[in-house]
């Protein structure tokens, strides 16, 4: 069991979760993720690491309630049944930090995808790299950790879809305005990453995308998370989660994300509305 120190809302449906996880924290590096289970019968949820403290053994994650399992997680307050990790490979920049000295890095985070941007930016900045951040969200209610981000980069550009905070526009608009970078690292929804990668290809900026497909075990055992990268099958959990964004087949990845939409949607509605749910979801039909 893993003691929960904090599990609180920090934005609309967005939660900050802090647990005591000494074994996970000990070897964690930016770019890696964990798999958490709320209870012994819960789904295994992959979450990117937001922060970790090697002195206090505190592991922090930020997640959005998007379905039944994250809804359950948001209601946990004492202990989590399991936290496994750190999983996946650390960021290529972390393992080749010298190579990137003197290079200009732009990190782009969309939605809660901004959370894993933070530990990387923090690591890079503390190792003397030159980092800017573009942060995009739908509206101001969804913006989180702004102060933290400000503290780990040179320039933070915030854009919102509706202009309720920062500039109105998309992350790609912000990148078009200023793009004298040597490396782009993008994290967020698969569709957003696709558009960023299309743009950086045009702009000739090397881009790393942090993929977040469906996973089960997170250790290479099931292959649920497989992606096409340069037309080869790769497992996001062990070969990634970060890949060359110009080689990832995003269209296939987006379609794979939809695989359990029906099952998950049904369950989420049931959890939200209980047995009183009586149609309207487009799923329950006359079955």
């Amino acid at each position: 069991m893993y003691k929960i120190l904090k599990n609180e809302s920090i934005g609309e449906k967005i939660f900050l979760l802090e647990v005591e996880a000494p074994l996970v924290v000990k070897n964690a590096l930016p770019g890696q993720f964990v798999i958490v289970m709320s209870k012994d019968d819960s789904e295994r949820i992959p979450l990117t690491i937001y922060d970790y403290n090697k002195e206090t053994s505190v592991l922090s994650m930020i997640y959005q309630v998007v379905g039944s399992s994250t809804l359950e997680l948001s209601k946990m307050h004492d202990e989590l049944f399991s936290v496994a990790g750190p999983l996946g490979k650390p960021s290529e920049v972390v393992t080749n930090i010298e190579k990137y000295k003197g290079k200009k890095i732009i990190m782009i985070g969309g939605g809660v995808g901004i959370a894993p941007v933070y530990p990387q930016a923090k690591y890079f900045t503390s190792h003397g790299l030159d980092v800017d951040i573009i942060y995009g969200a739908k509206n101001k209610d969804l913006l989180i950790i702004l102060d933290k981000l400000q503290s780990v980069c040179n320039n933070l550009t915030v854009v919102t879809d509706d202009g309720s905070n920062g500039k109105k526009g998309l992350v790609t608009d912000a990148l078009k305005e200023k793009h004298d970078y040597d490396l782009c690292i993008v994290m967020g929804s698969t569709i957003m990453m696709k558009f960023v990668c299309n743009l950086t290809k045009e702009l000739n900026i090397k881009t790393i995308a942090s993929m977040n497909p469906i996973m089960v075990d997170g250790t290479g055992m099931c292959g649920a998370c497989r992606l096409l990268v340069n037309n080869e099958v790769k497992f996001a959990c062990v070969d990634g989660p970060e890949f060359d964004g110009h080689l990832v087949d995003f269209d296939a990845a987006i379609k794979r994300m939809n695989l359990y939409k029906d099952e998950e949607g049904r369950r989420y509605l049931k959890d939200l509305e209980g047995e009183t749910h009586s149609g309207g979801c487009g799923n329950c039909g006359d079955k």
């Binding site: 039944s68 990790g85 250790t219 055992m221 099931c222 292959g223 695989l259 359990y260």
Partner: protein, 451 residues
């Protein structure tokens, strides 16, 4: 006629939609009858063929004398997981194959008798493993599958402290995530694991060696490390569109169903509910995946490139699969996954095959008949073509692996004299009993080396 007493099975119709155990085991009377068939050979061939050399005639004699506790102790001297082996060992290819009675009729049902004794022991809580006083040595075991558990049992008996590291949230390895409930009830596995805990084993879950803790860290903390990491990495087909929605590894299907319990009504981890599944492959894992999918409501067909004669799965599993309504498309080799505009599977193109002569492996070879391709429609394809060792534990360490990812060993020792390895990680995907044998051998070597 001197026919063997067959174990009773759950009715095929009923079992094709539940996960209850299929084989029901012997009654006392049936066991006694079967035990009485044994010739009690002076020079028993069955014992030699058992990978762990269980004293088979001796334990059968004890059953005849109704001394079941004694029978259990005899088995335990050689095997630490009898309730599991009694269920999943391929006895027909080992001990039972050598039985003299089999020459002119039915071999003794050794596996069924082993299971009978082990179940009696579980029911009567006969935990008899004696632990010697501690000798002040400690060993780390990586992986809690059959090989790791067996090695742990042997070390604990000698008074050595054991810590088992498991990457998942539940111990048991393939016994837990792989072999389905209807063939090996999880309470049997849990029970065997609890016995080890009672003997003093410390099991650390969610510890992915190579990530959470490095192999080097283990080496620095323990007197020896045993790698029993199994063969958990699934192979895929290498054909067009194999990433489409609806193509799964058998590992994924089995993990969702067995480990995550997704067949249960209110399961939080979903299993995709399609209509028609093709399972590619002919081994035990293919049968397990096919029979599991049948139970969650699929119409299931096994696609295999040779014929029924060459199917590598156990006869009993094939028979059970057929009884449950699973069909076979033989002499068919997958060529291309057919998809719709949404990337969903809608069929599989297969080449028609023909058998050729026996090759060096002793099996009939097989080749494609030119230009003969047909489409089999389906919405789900499950790939059960075998697994490879998972490299996570060894990839950032000094442990050498070969081109197949297997760990070469000499007398259970890897290229690093304090790191031992065994089971599927060394041999490639094999059976539970062979993994146990490797665990037992490694334990002997470790004891000799560190004492």
């Amino acid at each position: 006629m001197d026919e063997k007493i067959e174990m009773r099975n759950l009715d095929p119709e009923r079992r094709s939609h539940t996960f209850e155990e299929v084989a029901l085991g012997y009654s006392d009377e049936e066991a006694l009858k079967e035990a009485n068939r044994c010739l009690q050979c002076m020079n028993p061939r069955c014992v030699k063929e058992c990978p762990v050399n269980i004293e088979i005639p001796k334990f059968i004699k004890a059953i005849r004398e109704k001394k079941l506790e004694e029978a259990y102790n005899i088995i335990l001297e050689s095997s630490s997981l009898p309730a599991i082996c009694g269920r999943v060992c391929p006895q027909e290819k080992q001990c039972e194959k050598m039985c003299i009675k089999g020459l002119k009729g039915d071999a003794i049902a050794i596996g069924s008798l082993e299971r009978y004794v082990a179940d009696y022991a579980l029911e009567h809580k006969l935990n008899v493993s004696k632990v010697k006083s501690k000798i002040g040595k400690k060993v780390a075991i990586v992986g809690s599958g059959p090989s790791g558990l067996t090695c742990a049992g042997e070390l604990l008996k000698e008074g050595i402290d054991v810590t088992i590291y498991e990457s998942l949230h539940k111990a048991g390895g393939v016994l837990t995530y792989g072999i389905p409930e209807f063939r090996l009830p999880k309470k049997i596995v849990e029970n065997e694991i609890n016995l080890l805990k009672d003997m003093g084993a410390d099991i650390i879950l969610n510890a992915v060696i190579g990530k959470t803790i490095t192999l080097e860290e283990l080496e620095n903390t323990y007197d020896a490390v045993y790698l029993a990491t199994g063969a958990g990495l699934p192979k895929f087909l290498g054909i067009p569109n194999e990433n489409a929605n609806g193509v799964f590894s058998a590992n994924e299907v089995l993990t969702r169903i067995n480990l995550m319990g997704s067949y249960e009504e209110d399961a939080k981890t979903p299993i995709k509910k399609g209509n028609k599944a093709l399972v590619i492959g002919g081994g035990n894992v293919a049968m397990d995946a096919a029979r599991s999918l049948k139970r969650v409501g699929y119409d299931v067909t096994i696609v295999y490139r040779r014929t029924m004669e060459e199917l590598p799965a156990r006869k009993m599993e094939i028979e059970h699969a057929k009884e449950e309504g699973i069909t076979f498309e033989l002499l068919r080799n997958p060529k291309e996954v057919i998809i719709d505009e949404n990337y969903n599977v809608k069929g599989l193109n297969v080449s028609l095959m023909e058998l050729t002569d026996v090759d060096e492996s002793g099996r009939r070879g097989v080749k494609e008949i030119p230009d003969k391709v047909e489409e089999i429609s389906c919405d789900t394809i499950v790939v059960a073509l075998g697994t490879m060792p998972n490299p996570i534990a060894t990839e950032n360490s000094d442990i050498v692996t070969d081109d197949y990812g297997l760990i070469p060993v000499t007398e259970s020792v890897t290229n690093n004299s304090r790191v031992y390895a065994g089971g599927d990680a060394v041999t490639g995907a094999a059976t539970v009993i062979l993994a146990m044998e490797a665990g037992k051998k490694a334990a002997k070597q470790i004891i000799a080396d560190i004492k």
